[in-house]
């Protein structure tokens, strides 16, 4: 009797702690979400307003480029839709390239004996470990000389490079799990190696490719340092546009939080879709579960 009492108490303590931890980790995101639906008066209220009448005016500011001038503020048109388009275009293109090339390389590493395979794999991984700012110095010079500054293609190639090492490692993990026999059977049926790969292995690797793609997508979507240094107005991505509030006074927080919610939404959705692969993703496919 006493033993089971003690157990219940421990259980309750544990659940209270889990609940508290969840609240702590969710609260800032919740607060961002809530703030984006507040009027300018409500969002600066002290003590903070927990209950308020939601407004869509911040979102209208973001997309309709019309700023409500009730408080005598000058209209501040945003080009958020343009930056959002840039982010989508650059992320998707770089993901297609890096997952495509990465899968090919991963297949080769997984199925064939290559001379110096470990060295190659180590080299590929090490490119990802470099501090972005240290790589940025030469990259900046190279891009200036090649005329790739402030171009979409410049950022697409940069992110492809950045994601490639990850894609190779992740895909190698996934392809290692697909039985070789599938291909071998196809080859006995007279398929060539390439066609056996396309017919037998590739369909099995699609889930893995999707998971890898989502991780690459999030990396490109979130990347800031490269985009900040090499992009101008035409190729500016969302994080760079958000960073431009730095040093400004009188920040329009409604506009900022609404943009941030729009910008974070896809990441949150993808995190839930990818929950099975999160561990794999953050450890380059080396810890599988």
């Amino acid at each position: 009797m006493r033993r089971s009492n003690k157990k219940t108490i421990l259980r309750t303590i544990r659940f209270v702690m889990i609940a508290l931890a969840t609240i702590v980790f969710v609260f800032p995101i919740y607060w961002m979400f809530v703030t984006s639906f507040k009027t300018r008066v409500d969002m600066f209220a002290m003590p903070p307003k927990w209950v308020f009448t939601p407004t869509l005016e911040n979102y209208m500011d973001v997309f309709l480029k019309v700023h409500y001038t009730i408080y005598g503020l000058t209209p501040t048109p945003t080009d958020f839709d343009r930056f959002l388009f840039n982010s989508v275009l650059i992320s998707l293109s770089s993901v297609a390239l890096s997952v495509g090339f990465g899968t090919l390389a991963a297949y080769s590493f997984s199925r064939f004996e290559l001379k110096g395979k470990d060295t190659w794999l180590f080299f590929i991984l090490s490119t990802r470990m470099l501090p972005p700012i240290a790589v940025l110095v030469p990259m900046f010079l190279m891009y200036r000389t090649l005329g790739l500054m402030n171009t979409h293609i410049g950022l697409i190639l940069l992110y492809t490079m950045f994601n490639l090492s990850f894609a190779v490692w992740m895909m190698k993990g996934f392809i290692d799990e697909i039985p070789k026999e599938l291909e071998e059977a196809a080859m006995i049926d007279g398929y060539s190696r390439i066609r056996a790969f396309i017919k037998a292995t590739l369909p099995q690797a699609l889930t893995g490719m999707a998971a890898t793609a989502v991780f690459c997508l999030i990396t490109s979507w979130n990347e800031f340092a490269f985009a900040y240094v090499t992009s101008g107005f035409e190729s500016r991505t969302v994080p760079v546009s958000l960073a431009r509030i730095r040093g400004e006074s009188g920040i329009n927080w409604g506009l900022i939080t609404a943009s941030e919610v729009i910008y974070l939404m896809p990441v949150i959705i993808f995190t839930f879709l990818m929950q099975r692969y999160l561990l794999r993703g953050v450890t380059f496919g080396t810890i599988k579960k």
């Binding site: 544990r14 889990i18 931890a21 980790f25 969710v26 800032p28 995101i29 607060w31 703030t35 600066f44 903070p48 990465g102 090919l104 390389a105 590493f109 199925r111 064939f112 290559l114 180590f122 080299f123 991984l125 090490s126 470990m129 501090p131 972005p132 700012i133 240290a134 790589v135 940025l136 110095v137 900046f140 010079l141 190279m142 190639l157 492809t160 490079m161 490639l164 090492s165 999030i218 979130n222 800031f224 240094v229 994080p239 958000l242 960073a243 730095r246 927080w253 900022i256 939080t257 974070l264 949150i268 995190t271 839930f272 929950q275 999160l278 561990l279 953050v282 380059f284 080396t286 810890i287």
Partner: protein, 299 residues
């Protein structure tokens, strides 16, 4: 195409991209690090060769060392705080219950979110007049100014911990669930206390995975740029200016390109040493280490 050619053909695009986008610029900046050069100088002006002068300048500059100190303080504080919180979270979440997966995924959202978006928003959250943290602290009669030379690093650490403790949790949780159940059952028969089980079964078994988590976070914290850039911009008075931020200033604000390349190379060497240790841990299969540590437990 015969297989021997095919296997090299398949890795060619990857290798070319990485060579052209990583190795080539790195060689370029290695060269530049021996020149007195600025991208702002006239195109006609030739960079002058100065030998290792840039390296001497960078390494003898007391500012560089104070930036390294700031970085070290940040890395040590952030990684240890994240490790402790992550470990506690993992222990809380080890047992199965309904909705566990949803809770874990929810907690992981900060890690997946863009550091820039987080940094921008935390300037709103931490604001000293209307920030929600100011309000919560005032409930306890506390006044806290985060943007002061002493408080700024702990504040950045807290934001970083909010983002990255879940990462530690995720990896430690994987380690904990991989500990074979029968070890605990055997220990129960021997009436081992929970501390004995933790000390002699759990810790030795998950050690390799802990090493991976720690090294990964150490390297990431060392490289941290965007969060600090947006949250504090190195201030006040350089109190939170990490080495990445310092390098950014040298190379992209003062445009001392030669000197910047030299400092970039110093950072590269540090990262290469760290990542070598890291990769060595990664390539050692955790399963094998688990088995070897089991034998230690049995002895």
């Amino acid at each position: 195409m015969d297989e021997n050619r095919l296997k090299w053909f398949l890795i060619t695009p990857t290798v070319i991209i990485l060579l052209f986008w990583v190795i080539y610029p790195l060689l370029w900046s290695l060269g530049l690090s021996f020149y007195n050069y600025s991208v702002m100088q006239a195109f006609a002006a030739k960079p002058t060769f100065v030998g290792i002068q840039n390296y001497l300048d960078v390494l003898s500059d007391p500012v560089t060392w104070s930036r390294f100190q700031v970085t070290a303080r940040f890395v040590v504080l952030a990684v240890s705080v994240e490790f402790v919180i992550g470990f506690i979270l993992a222990l809380l979440l080890i047992e199965e219950f309904r909705g566990k997966r949803i809770i874990i995924t929810t907690i992981l959202i900060p890690m997946m979110a863009a550091p820039i978006a987080i940094g921008v928003f935390f300037r709103f959250v931490l604001d000293e007049t209307f920030g929600v943290t100011t309000y919560f602290l005032s409930l306890f009669g506390l006044g806290f100014k985060w943007y002061t030379p002493t408080n700024v690093i702990p504040s950045v650490v807290l934001v970083d911990a909010w983002m990255w403790s879940p990462f530690m949790m995720l990896i430690i949780l994987a380690g904990l669930t991989a500990v074979p159940k029968y070890l605990y059952e055997a220990a129960d028969i021997d009436r081992a206390s929970w501390w004995m089980k933790f000390r002699y079964i759990t810790v030795p078994t998950i050690k390799p995975i802990l090493a991976i988590a720690l090294l990964f976070r150490t390297m990431d914290a060392f490289k941290l740029f965007d969060l600090i850039f947006i949250l504090t911009d190195g201030g006040p008075g350089g109190a939170s200016e990490t080495i990445s931020l310092h390098l950014y200033r040298i190379a992209f604000q003062y445009f001392y390109t030669g000197k910047g390349s030299a400092l970039a190379y110093v950072l590269l060497v540090i990262i290469i040493v760290l990542s070598n240790i890291y990769v060595r841990f990664l390539t050692r299969r955790p399963v094998e280490t688990f088995q070897s540590s089991e034998t230690i437990v049995e002895v």
